[in-house]
């Protein structure tokens, strides 16, 4: 790694260490701003496509004086350009987005070292997912790192088990897919021994399991302290409704306390995770705050879709995340997720869909679709 890369990653690690619990408010804002601007300058200098992107917007380290003015890179760009400060051939890991089989159309986030993203995962996981215990039996429903080395989620899940899992923790996703039978047996064993367990996996993995249980008339009474962790959510616009329904089913089918269900919001294009605060807040003071929040090195802005300027507090807009741990690509990214800010964090509304024309003129989305054979079917 370059010398200045080592320097900046050390500073970020130090920030993470120092502000993990976000205690000193006044100092924190200044520290965040200073490091964000330093990181912006570093990325501007070493990430050429990002530099051009910023220049096209007339934003440079000379003109940007506050982190909110750092131009966020749209996530679609991660699909088409290598966004990396360090040479990409030397990356320790390349995480790719899912959803398409064409590797050229996958978003890629290069990690020259994993130490920063690992450190970014470790503290907040404890804070948001396991505030009340040190280790827990974790049953993982999605592929582990060895099965999918290009998945940031797989790395995350493997880390979770390494840092916080008991010896009984297991991965139930094999090269043949999810082994539901063994998972069910293992959950039954936990039930019998009254040992708390945490299920972890992508949201859609649970849909599969719930279907399986429904077909066979199965139900569980997870031992006290058990929890269910899901991530990814549904991509539709009625996200809130669908998640509510899913969590209702979790309570019904697993008899798990609603306050022990947690959703993590993560993206390949980021190096940190954002969580709902259900478990944390219910452990701390018995309230249930479902709003999402990141660690202190991640800030989220809600932007007006028309101007890409911040909206008034409480208004809906498209989310932009500023993640200091994302040191090698772009610390600021523009998502395609809608949300709004609340007193405690933000609420995620769901993915913005492609738009259809209001009138009779054919819009580009439809035209592309038809060229791909979408119209003929």
């Amino acid at each position: 790694m370059r010398e200045n890369s080592t320097k900046i990653t050390n500073e970020i690690l130090q920030f993470i260490d120092q502000h993990n619990l976000n205690l000193d408010k006044a100092e924190y804002e200044d520290d965040y701003n200073r490091l964000a601007l330093e990181l912006f300058q570093y990325q501007f200098q070493t990430n050429l496509p990002y530099k051009k992107f910023c220049q096209a917007r007339k934003k440079t380290p000379l003109t940007v004086k506050h982190w909110e003015h750092i131009p966020p890179m749209p996530i679609q760009v991660f699909k088409h350009l290598p966004l990396s400060c360090e040479p990409i051939q030397e990356a320790q890991a390349v995480f790719m987005t899912s959803g398409t089989t064409n590797p050229d159309a996958k978003g890629k986030n290069y990690h020259p070292v994993l130490s920063v993203s690992d450190a970014s995962m470790k503290g907040p996981f404890k804070q948001f997912v396991l505030p009340d215990c040190d280790r827990m039996t974790i049953f993982v429903l999605s592929p582990a790192e060895d099965l999918n080395k290009h998945s940031s989620l797989s790395r995350y899940l493997t880390n979770a088990v390494t840092y916080y899992g008991t010896d009984k923790s297991r991965f139930f996703f094999t090269e043949h897919g999810l082994n539901v039978d063994e998972l069910i047996q293992a959950i039954r064993a936990c039930e019998a021994e009254q040992e708390p367990v945490m299920l972890m996996g992508a949201t859609f993995a649970y849909v599969h399991i719930l279907d399986y249980m429904k077909e066979r008339g199965l139900q569980f009474h997870l031992p006290k302290g058990s929890r269910i962790f899901d991530t990814g959510g549904f991509k539709g616009q009625s996200r809130e409704v669908e998640m509510d329904q899913l969590y209702g089913l979790f309570s019904e089918q697993f008899h798990v306390d609603r306050n022990r269900i947690i959703n993590m919001y993560g993206m390949t294009e980021l190096s940190s995770q954002i969580y709902d605060q259900t478990i944390q807040s219910s452990c701390l003071n018995g309230t249930a705050i479902h709003d999402k929040k990141g660690p202190s090195w991640v800030k989220t802005l809600v932007l007006n879709t028309d101007t890409l300027e911040p909206v008034e507090d409480g208004a809906a807009g498209v989310l932009a995340h500023y993640d200091l741990a994302n040191w090698n690509s772009c610390l600021a990214i523009l998502t395609e997720d809608m949300g709004y800010k609340t007193e405690h964090g933000f609420v995620l509304l769901g993915r913005i869909q492609g738009s259809e024309a209001r009138g009779c003129s054919i819009a580009v989305d439809q035209l592309l679709q038809s060229n791909l054979g979408g119209v003929q079917r």
Partner: protein, 485 residues
Amino acid sequence: MSITVEVKVYRTPITIELKEREEIIECGESTFVMKYPIISGEDMKNIASLVKFNRSAYLASMPIAQIVEKIDLAVQKWLNPDYALRRLAEKLVPVVTGYDEEMVRLEVKRYIRTFRKKELLRFLDEEFDQPAMLDEFRPRKTGGMSRAFGPESIFHVFSGNVPGVQIWSLIMGLLVKSAAIGKTSMSEPLLPVLFAQSLAEVDERLAETIAILPWKGGTNELEEPAIEESEVVIVYGSQDTVEKVKEKVPNGKRVLSYGHKISFAMVGREALTPDHYYESIHKLTEDISVYDQQSCLTPQSVYVEEGGAISPKQFAQMLAAEMERYHKKKPRAKLSDEEAMSIQRFRNQYQLEALNNRPISVYFSSMDTSWTVIFHEEAGFAGTPLNRSIHVFSTESLEDAAAAIKPYQQFLQSCGLAVSPNRLFILADLLGSYGVNRISTIGEMNRAKPGWHHDGGFNLLDLVRIMDIERNVEQELERFDPDVE
């Protein structure tokens, strides 16, 4: 002083009573209470059979000349700037659709003018050798007699919110003496209702053959009876909408569909001389900006030829400046988050290609999504997310650039053309063979002329059945005249 006005956004024959729900629109000092109907399948059946009954009792036997007169009287009302319904439309349509007030005022007026009596006569003459054949059997030049029968009833499925287009469809139905059920889109349900109201002011019985109702597309309970009771279905909308409606129509029933289309413009070097280039840019901006590019007649790509007084790139830059000026005068509608983000993505995509050293330049309104110009050094063809976004392609010769449109044949509509006269037919032949069905001047792309061939087809002729009496029949039957020698 605040005034409250109730506005029904639907119309049925007067004996039909529907439950209503209200939506309140505040507009300056007035409060509008918009009354939306709550319709059941049963209601729909009643409405459909009633308009058919009213049609056979009245409209079916009305001479075409009289129908034209009556439509003209309604049109005359709308050409009066002080006409109450026109003023209501000018106030409400901008609020409902978000389009600029001045733009709506101008475009609605221009549009209604295309339905004056002389234009309707043109329209009829364009397609029928003798429009009187809609009234009675008329002799044919080749011998025998023919008469045109319009459908008993037409179900119109209107699309989106280019205000007024629905009126054209309703007038076509009247000209072929059909009852009408019009399904309006929730985004612009108003103008057809107001126009039908004007017809009622002229001739109440005539308006009793028309029902106009807004509902959410895909509501089977309403669409099935509407299709069942109609002889012809006309559907406007996206490929998807058209397909979905077609699926519901039983085999053998006639469906005319007008799917979404794409148009473009070509500016030759002759229109880029020092005395012409500004006008070309100015008019093109108008074509792009009217109704925020929602009409299928509006350009999404422009080919600009090299060799003029300004280069294609300068053209793109000046077009950008003109788009900004236009936006200041007639601001674009506020967009949904989906639409706005689709423009952001569009800009990102081409900025990205520019970053990748592709010969592309991107110009856009810096503060928001109100306009976007993408300049391409190389010829090609592409669509845009609309709402005032446009591609400018540089080309050495328009004749060469035309080949780029060929793969899009099924979607092509109009070409706005500015070249020297001697190139008109060369280009028209070429574009016609690639699927374009209309050439207009620049600045008039959104204003199709009366009697045009919509999407390359006929309008009235496609709606009627022609019945022939062969020429020897009349002679043969003479034998059966009891008085024959």
